[in-house]
Amino acid sequence: MTEETQYRVAHVRRALAEDSRTAELGIRVNVRGDDVYLSGEVTTENRRADLERVLREVAPEVVVHNDVRVADTREPARREELR
């Protein structure tokens, strides 16, 4: 990873964690040149969109690939028996 890429990852990750519109500490940021790939999970569709909004402000020059998924809130299909 080049020096510039490392700092870009650091800036983006901190922005997503510390900006009150996102407050997401659990988002993975991969930078490949001018392409930024986000992965992980958030609670709602709105928050997924907010990640992109904040990222475009912090790094307007990059192409964003938002691979973040929205939490699955269905009932579990199984129970684990601990014996």
């Binding site: 407050a23 809130t73 269905r74 684990e80």
Partner: protein, 237 residues
Amino acid sequence: MIRVAAVGDVHLGEDARGRLRPALDNLSGHADVLLLAGDLTRHGALDEARVAAEEFGGLDVPVVGVLGNHDHHSDLGDDIAKLLEDHGITMLEGTATTIDVGGERLGIAGVKGFGGGFAGKCASNFGEREMKAFVSHTIERSEALRNALAGLDTGIRIALTHYSPIPETLRGEPPEIYPFLGCYQLGEVIDESGTDLAIHGHAHFGCEQGVTPGGVRVRNVAQPVIRSAFATYGLGA
């Protein structure tokens, strides 16, 4: 058998109101108790906590929880805990509660816990004031869990935390950030206290299953890990 449901890191807010409720409305079909492993809110704001209180309040099984780091972000941890308690949710912080399930007694001891890292790769209570404050919090919260567990005389005991007591359930997270995700002191206390199961959250990229050095099963129930409204475990015969 006692059926335990658990989830952490739901990060509720106004935009997420009602999202979990369809699954929770059928909770007694799955479990005898629901454990909340912290990070119920995003910013630790009271309006977010109110959404959590309404989401988890009035269910047909007892609900027991701890707060997480997000729930402390606005310095309103005590107010959030009280609001949840007012909605019938038992909130633990260095305390314990006992629940009767079909004549069997289940004890739950809870604490938020803290980071610090794991054996051989952890922070020390030494140096700058800031560093000592960090590690003192690790030690203090772990000792609070010890006292809470010691006060339980139930047949089955569960330790409920937000931070992890072992590194194994963090696999998938970058190893460099493990010291911010948990501490060995929690695991040591759990092993010394004869606990039957340890439940935690916090590590969104971690994995569900692990075991302490002393052989206590550990489950990371962060919602991005379990990928459902809650996970369920059966304990005892």
